[in-house]
Symmetry: C2
Subunit: 209 residues, 2 copies
């Protein structure tokens, strides 16, 4: 089973590493790190990941995972090769998935027209403009498409995807290996739960960027 973990400049590292950590260690899975060209991709907070293969080299992956970016409006204009590859590869894939604003790239590739999907809470309007039916759920499944909310939601999606690709036991095994028994020290992980002044702070930081 070939899994394409998509990489592009200014993507968010955790968006791909969350699902990767849940998926890539299963012996049946061949993990591919694919970009428009081979070589280093600089993520939005500085860590560099290596694209070991190109989109052209992997035309028919079984599973596609597309990360988002802290610069979601800009990257939507910068990644035509990725969008074209998604349009062509999606019909042959068992699962096409995204984390965070990766769903806006799926939408641009024509994959989400009239379909329920989720994204980072700051990008909901954009995803709607691009034709999707926006959900605020953390993980949304619609046929062969699975989308996750912002950044860390990729861990939850990775477990859900593992249970669909294999079974629940395999998902629980990797949950135990990754000791995913979350205990965040604060309860500020969603717009609904965070204090209003923190939500406003976040909107300002995003607008300044």
């Amino acid at each position: 089973m070939d899994v394409a973990f998509v990489l592009y400049e200014r993507m968010t590292a955790l968006d791909i590493v969350g699902p990767y950590e849940m998926l890539a260690s299963h012996p049946e899975i061949n993990a591919h790190f694919v970009g428009a060209r081979r070589g280093l991709v600089r993520t939005d907070a500085g860590l560099e990941l290596n694209a070991a293969s190109t989109f052209d080299e992997l035309p028919r992956p079984d599973v596609i995972v597309v990360p988002g970016s802290g610069y979601w409006r800009a990257v939507l204009e910068e990644n035509d090769a990725l969008v074209d590859w998604l349009t062509a590869a999606h019909p042959n894939a068992t699962w096409t998935t995204s984390v965070c604003t990766g769903s806006t790239l799926l939408a641009k590739a024509g994959i989400l027209v009239g379909r329920p999907a989720t994204t980072h809470w700051l990008a909901r309007e954009l995803l709607e403009e691009l034709g999707a039916v926006v959900s605020t759920d953390r993980v949304v499944i619609d046929g062969d498409v699975m989308t996750a909310a912002g950044v860390s939601a990729g861990l939850d999606m990775g477990l859900t995807l593992t249970s669909r690709l294999f079974d629940d036991a395999r998902a629980m095994l990797i949950q135990l290996f990754t000791e995913y028994d979350p205990q965040p020290p604060f309860a500020a992980g969603s717009v609904e739960k965070a204090p209003p002044e923190i939500v406003e702070f976040a909107r300002q930081v995003a607008a300044d960027r």
Copy 2:
């Protein structure tokens, strides 16, 4: 503020990317990705990360983050340069931290003698053999040392560390940006919660490796 994100061959990617995503985007932080030598480091499920600088180039970081590995016994023998650097750098650091079996590397560097610390649940005996007082807590703080349990515990540690380096508001801001409102689809993230047959399955997989 210089933060050293330590990279080494066969480390676990999420161990470093969890804390990185919580820490590296704050404007006060200079994120450094340091290894024994510059260049690609292959993590334990195949993703390659780039070490942009060497231990020699960063002798006095303010914060040190050390990841673990799925091959924790082997990597403990393979990383003398890292261990020597840790021994020298720790006394000058504001915080020395680890995720997963990274704590066994801190222990080997002499940092955890008689001190409370945590690690991946499969490595608790090893950490005890190395002289630490093993805790089963998810995040353990002892003076200037902060250790986290397995893999995904680095997200919780990253938030706790952010609140200590800045304040609670900053930690909540990054929690909201990373939408860290976890909803794992199963409750198998600890030895206490996972079904016994899954724990046994995990022990066998680890023993085979």
